[in-house]
């Protein structure tokens, strides 16, 4: 029988959302339109329209060592062109953001190629070749993985994911990269590291509370789905915990 990945345990809605995001055969819902130029502006790695700076000559122009792995693995577009490695980093509010750091790393590993994700408690960074990064960023920004108010694109000074929301529902950001306008549309006025942009980049309206609670991948005992209510998830985590603890003692079975 062919192997069929399960992506994750759990019977709750949150677990189901997590599996949906991780499963590459499930198409993520598109929520907004962000142009390629807007993405380049938010990332702040190069000027829009500028050529991609390179870290090495294109693979076609350089002598590759005779390596069996290189014959198996097709290089990504960015690797083929010799692009620099660049990053995008996200902070997700604990108040029902649609995604969260561990989840991001899992889903990126399932969905994208040639990436190096870094997971921390309050932020998640993904590094890859610049050309690929822009392609992946588009997917991360345009789909249901991002909420304009509760997800922050923050390259540095990420503080805010575990704090109360602001009066207008935005996640706290000491650099205030994104601003909620009078018309209800969130605009990035600074790039991800906090440098002011020449023009504001609109990324749409924040999603409503009801939608967020139905699509979140975060367990939350106050107002959301409590972790303890998902018995299957608890059982799975306890099994992993128990097995890895026992393995520390090298059991002979």
């Amino acid at each position: 029988m062919a192997y069929k990945p399960q992506y994750g345990p759990g019977t709750s809605k949150v677990a189901e959302n997590r599996r949906k995001q991780m499963n590459p055969s499930q198409k993520l819902e598109k929520m907004r339109d962000v142009t390629d130029e807007d993405i380049v502006l938010i990332l702040g790695h190069r000027a829009p329209g500028a050529a991609y700076p390179t870290a090495h000559p294109p693979l076609a122009e350089q002598q590759e060592p005779d390596c069996p792995i290189r014959k198996i693995v097709t290089p990504t577009d960015g690797a083929k062109a010799g692009d620099r490695v660049r990053y995008i980093q996200f902070a997700d509010s604990m108040f029902f953001a649609p995604c969260h750091p561990y989840q991001r790393t899992y889903l990126e590993s399932y969905r994208f190629r040639g990436i190096d994700p870094g997971t921390l408690s309050g932020r998640q960074i993904v590094e890859c070749r610049e050309r690929d990064l822009e392609k992946y960023s588009k997917e991360l920004l345009e789909t249901e993985l991002l909420d304009a108010a509760r997800t922050g694109i923050r390259g540095a000074t990420v503080h805010g994911h575990s704090l109360r929301l602001a009066e207008n529902g935005m996640m706290f950001d000491m650099l205030q990269r994104s601003v909620l306008g009078e018309d209800g549309i969130v605009r990035y006025v600074k790039n991800q590291i906090g440098e002011p942009l020449d023009r504001a980049v609109a990324i749409g309206k924040p999603l409503d509370e009801k939608w967020l609670k139905a699509h979140t991948t975060i367990f939350h005992s106050l107002g959301g789905v409590p972790y303890r209510d998902d018995a299957e998830y608890i059982e799975y985590v306890q099994r992993i915990h128990s097995l890895r603890t026992k393995y520390g003692f090298m059991p002979k079975e």
Binding site: G155, T157, L163, R164, A166, E167, F172, V179, E195, P196
Partner: protein
């Protein structure tokens, strides 16, 4: 950091306040009177970008602004989340609760008034090491006593 035990209350809103809401709330509290010391807490909004490649660049932030409380201008350096008050006596607490309810009546989030001990009563070992024996005991534990700009003093009516 006084010898006598004065009652203290903490005002915690469910969301961070905009400067104009904070201004409105603080002015309403000042009207109630009976406040000996007040501290405004919340996450810092720095003047310049503190970390990362853009470190040191100016950080324009609409919420870092000067508000008018009583007869004084107050420079906000934080996004207001908690307000700690030290009162003359407990008789002011119901009026403070009333003032808070009044300000938050039209908001779609709540705000709690809690009573307890929220300010330091004596310097810790670290305070002694950092600020020495002559640190201003009135503001120690609330703000850095070495800051050049001292506390804002709002004149009462007594």
């Amino acid at each position: 950091m006084t010898e006598a035990i004065y009652p203290q209350v903490r005002i915690v809103s469910a969301r961070f306040l905009r400067p104009d809401t904070a201004e409105q709330l603080l002015n309403r509290l000042v009207q109630v009177g009976g406040i000996l010391r007040m501290s405004i807490n919340g996450p810092s909004i720095p003047e310049t970008v503190p970390y990362g490649p853009a470190r040191g660049q100016p950080n324009p932030h609409p919420d870092r602004k000067v508000i008018r409380v009583g007869d004084q201008d107050v420079q906000l350096r934080v996004q207001v989340g908690t307000i700690i008050l030290e009162l003359e006596d407990e008789s002011y607490i119901p009026a403070i609760c009333e003032a808070v309810d009044e300000v938050f009546a039209e908001k779609d989030f709540s705000c709690a008034v809690q009573q307890g001990r929220y300010m330091k009563t004596r310097p810790t070992m670290s305070d002694y090491a950092k600020y020495g024996p002559d640190a201003d005991r009135e503001i120690l534990g609330l703000v850095d006593p070495r800051r050049k700009d001292g506390p804002v003093i709002i004149q009462g009516t007594k």
